[in-house]
């Protein structure tokens, strides 16, 4: 294929990606935007088989490559199709990790081909890609393991952790210098291994509600890796696409960190600086008020205004349809119903919106934190369904606890608070919630869907 034609078509693909991100920024055009992106990516993949060659090497591995692509599709599509809504965050983390791994491998192969004739700029870009790609891969795998609850979701802290991480980073940078200086294969291998180690170490201390921020950050990392490998391969499209993802990922990470009320630095290194929590509360058993579904139904039935605060528990129980049924029932009785959506409720920003949209909850009923908070004093009943950290007053009152400083939904201002929980176990961040012991709090233990179904039938009977 003619070089100019190839480049023009590549430019069209780059425009597709810009339109895709643009489309994804608004609910109306989001799906179309994603399809435009998918079209662009497919087109680019077909196009690359017709790429003009500087040298006369022919496509002698085409068949093998096609088989590899088919295999990749056979793995990726069913995984994406079968995954449940609740497990989506870990899948996104995993996809991000394999992308970073692919970018690192591409650069390693390119490095092996470069030989000693390479320019310093090429080697530096290669080294950058390998480091960041490995960090992204290892970090994403750890994030996946945490979210899948294969390993603990709490921050993993070990003595001198900060120094170990700093030493690993220093090791990575030193070997990077070694690679650039000597151009050897052994230094590259050492550097890749150290980078993988660093990727693991830097995600381990991140726990609880901060994990989504890390996914977003690693996503931006992978974008930059792709951009750098585009430089090595002289592929403009990779540079544009990778940079777009790097830039938008950085913004998104910052938006998410702001929603949590903390700096990015605090997210990544907070666990080492925070004082370990006093464990005294764990031992003693304090009285809580628990109620029956009928009690809850009565509270709701005589309220003027009800705010539902959904959390990850709602997603786990797949209770979004039941909660909407209950809300419809209350609305029919003339009760003012709204959903208070914390920006990081669930395990990803916007998780709750997606979930409730699935159950056809009217968009107007979803109220964001800043708007719903001032209305709590006029609210009679707040129904917390499977949320914990996002309503935990410790974020305001206990300096040093992992979520301190995070803006919360101030549900304690309301007349009554009902918690639907599976047990007294603390939330994802692992912090005790004082609100559970508040006299105006009623607890309804059990699976969110079961509890809601019972409340719905009790409401119908009233």
């Amino acid at each position: 294929m003619n070089r100019n034609l190839y480049d023009v078509l590549g430019l069209c693909v780059a425009v597709c990606f810009i339109l895709a991100l643009k489309g994804l920024s608004s609910p109306k055009s989001a799906r179309r935007g994603n399809l435009i992106g998918a079209f662009g990516a497919t087109f680019a993949t077909v196009l690359v088989f017709f790429a003009p060659h500087e040298s006369t090497i022919s496509h002698h591995h085409t068949l093998l490559i096609l088989i590899a692509i088919i295999f990749g599709v056979a793995v990726g599509v069913p995984a994406a199709r079968r995954i449940q809504m609740t497990q989506m965050p870990q899948l996104v983390a995993l996809f991000n990790g394999v992308g970073g791994g692919a970018a690192a491998l591409v650069s390693i192969v390119e490095y092996l081909k470069l030989g000693s004739s390479a320019s310093t700029a090429d080697v530096v870009a290669t080294v950058f890609t390998v480091i960041v790609g490995c960090v992204s891969f290892a970090g994403s795998v750890i994030t996946f393991l945490k979210l899948q609850e294969i390993m603990t979701t709490r921050p993993v802290i070990f003595p001198g952790g900060r120094f170990v991480i700093a030493a690993t980073l220093a090791g990575v940078l030193l070997t990077a210098g070694w690679v650039i200086h000597s151009m050897g294969n052994t230094p590259l291998l050492v550097m890749a291994i150290l980078s993988l180690l660093f990727g693991m170490l830097f995600v381990l201390p991140v726990g609880g509600a901060d994990v989504p921020i890390v996914i977003s950050l690693l996503n931006a990392f992978t974008g930059l890796t792709v951009a750098a490998s585009g430089y090595v391969l002289q592929a403009t499209l990779l540079i544009v696409a990778g940079t777009l993802v790097g830039a938008s990922g950085t913004i998104l990470t910052r938006l998410m960190a702001t929603a949590m009320g903390r700096s990015l630095f605090g997210t990544l290194f907070g666990a080492f600086t925070a004082k370990p929590q006093a464990a005294s509360a764990a031992g003693e058993v304090r009285p809580v008020k628990s109620g029956s579904p009928e009690d809850v139904a009565i509270l709701l039935n005589y309220a003027q205004r009800v705010v539902i605060v959904p959390g990850f528990g709602l997603a786990v129980a797949q209770a979004q349809h039941t909660v909407r049924e209950m809300a419809d029932l209350l609305s029919a009785k003339g009760i003012d119903v709204a959903y208070g959506i914390h920006p990081v409720a669930g395990r990803m920003p916007g998780h709750m919106n997606v979930l409730l949209a699935e159950a056809n909850v009217p968009y107007e009923q979803l109220v964001e934190m800043d708007e719903v908070n001032p209305t709590f004093p006029q609210t009679d009943v707040v129904l917390v369904v499977g949320a914990n950290d996002v309503v935990n007053p410790a974020a305001r009152t206990t300096p040093g606890c992992p979520i301190f400083g995070m803006p919360i939904l101030d549900v304690s201002q309301a007349g009554n608070v009902i918690f639907m929980k599976r047990s007294m176990r603390p939330g994802f961040a692992g912090i005790e919630n004082e609100l559970l012991y508040d006299p105006k709090t009623t607890l309804l233990f059990g699976d969110a869907k079961d509890s809601l179904t019972k409340v719905v039938s009790a409401l119908k009977g009233l």
Partner: protein, 107 residues
């Protein structure tokens, strides 16, 4: 303008486009946006195909082919999972009956 300079210009301009395009996104779409951006960097697939195709020896070929598989999973899976999330944002007329049958949550 030298080639390296041209690539650098493209890089810098793309940063600004990336910032500009997502600076005003509502929290509702944070998850799909992250997932969509995640799918877009799966375009490293074309890089993987390029290096696998040009491989000189078996080591390079194996690494290249593994990269092709990983990149394909990232790209295809990423777009499919984003589409599944966005399916739920479809325009929803006030249907009360049909909405109760569970569509996305079954399997």
């Amino acid at each position: 303008m030298s080639n390296a300079m041209a690539l650098l210009s493209i890089f810098v301009l793309s940063i600004f486009i990336g910032f500009e395009v997502v600076s005003k996104v509502s929290t509702t779409l944070h998850t799909p946006l992250m997932s969509g951006a995640n799918a877009i960097h799966g375009i490293i697939l074309i890089g993987a195909i390029t290096v696998a195709d040009r491989a000189d020896n078996n080591l390079q070929l194996v690494l290249g082919i593994v990269a092709v598989v990983l990149a394909t999973v990232n790209m295809v899976g990423g777009f499919v999972v984003t589409d599944r999330m966005l399916e739920m944002f479809k325009a929803k007329p006030k249907r009360t009956e049909s909405a109760t049958q569970e569509s996305g949550g079954s399997k």
